[in-house]
């Protein structure tokens, strides 16, 4: 299905956030996820089903002022 990951359209086969991180080869451990502008707590990554058109933001800590 077609979703948007970090602003980029992507064709994915994963059905959950957990699976999507694996499919896209995310190797880090410190992420926060927003699904359609709502924060998705880590405890719900495995159970939340993705659907076509979802907008997913995958966020990590970075330098800031």
């Amino acid at each position: 299905m077609r979703v948007i990951v970090n602003g980029e359209p992507r064709e994915i086969s994963s059905a959950s956030i957990d699976a999507l991180l694996g499919e896209l080869d995310y190797e880090g451990t410190h992420f926060a996820i927003a699904l359609n502008f709502d924060v998705l707590p880590k405890a719900r990554w495995a159970a939340t089903a993705l659907k076509s058109g979802d907008e997913i933001e995958i966020i990590t800590p970075r330098q800031g002022g």
């Binding site: 995310y26 933001e57 966020i59 990590t60 330098q63 800031g64």
Partner: protein
């Protein structure tokens, strides 16, 4: 002691973690500054990346309190969602709230800022709003529940120091119970000292240290500047005068004659 939402800190300097020449220099500069609070941000992670993990482990080695920001957010919706992501990612209800109105000046959108602050405070956040020196805006932020207000000295990264001294002084006088931090526009330790001399509780800066020729030495200079400014404020500064007043006694001046 400096108090932010019930947490106390001995250093009155808050430091940013961006723009340093290397991760090692970032760590050394933060240590040299003596700051107990370090600002961080959140950004998209590229597929396959673990940039966030590498950075986060550097910060955790420092034994500091982390203050995440919403830098780059241009709407209330973006800022509120970013704050919630920060809470999830960093495990803190603290947020340095930035809602930006203008690309060239990075002027805060003060209308959006007040709205976002109110929304976040209702959701349990402890908000550090980056704002202008306007008293009415600061009062609205306090009404919304902010215990900390952070007016700019000058635009972010401009190094111009305190442009509107009288307005910042007015904020201090009118909000005696609020923790006030000068955030942004500080270029030199003397600027930081000036803010503390005005009675500001702390300063927050990044670029002036990170972009110095020697960031570690500059971090130390800012530590001293902040300490000097605070000590001077506590010692009680004299009022400025319009005319000269001799410091050396006049009586007994050699060769002195009364004007006839």
């Amino acid at each position: 002691m400096l108090n932010f939402y019930g947490k106390t800190f001995s250093s009155r300097l808050l430091i940013g973690s961006a723009l340093y020449p290397s991760p090692a220099i970032m760590q050394a500069a933060i240590r040299a500054s003596g700051a107990g609070i370090v600002t961080v941000s959140l950004r998209r992670e590229a597929a396959g990346g673990k940039t966030g993990d590498a950075f986060w482990s550097l910060i955790r080695e420092l034994d500091v309190t982390v203050l995440p920001n919403t830098a780059g957010c241009r709407s209330v919706r973006e800022a509120v969602t970013t704050a919630k992501l920060a809470r999830e990612l960093f495990g803190t209800s603290w947020i340095k709230l930035e809602v930006i109105a203008d690309n060239d000046t990075l002027q805060p959108d003060v209308v959006g800022l007040v709205e976002a602050a109110a929304t976040l405070i209702k959701d349990g956040f402890e908000v550090f709003p980056y704002c202008t020196e306007d008293l009415s805006v600061a009062m609205r932020l306090v009404e919304a529940g902010c215990k900390v207000v952070m007016p700019w000295a000058a635009p972010i990264g401009s190094a111009r120091g305190i442009i509107n001294r009288d307005a910042l002084k007015l904020l201090r006088d009118r909000l005696p119970d609020i923790t006030l931090v000068v955030d942004a526009g500080i270029g030199a330790p003397s600027h930081a000292a000036h803010a503390l001399e005005l009675g500001y509780d702390a300063v927050l800066l990044n670029t002036a240290i990170a972009k110095a020729a020697d960031p570690v030495a500059m971090a130390n200079a800012f530590r001293l500047g902040v300490e000097a400014g605070r000590t001077a404020y506590e010692a009680g500064l004299m009022e400025a005068r319009d005319f000269a007043s001799p410091s050396t006694p006049v009586i007994g001046t050699p060769f002195w004659h009364a004007v006839s």
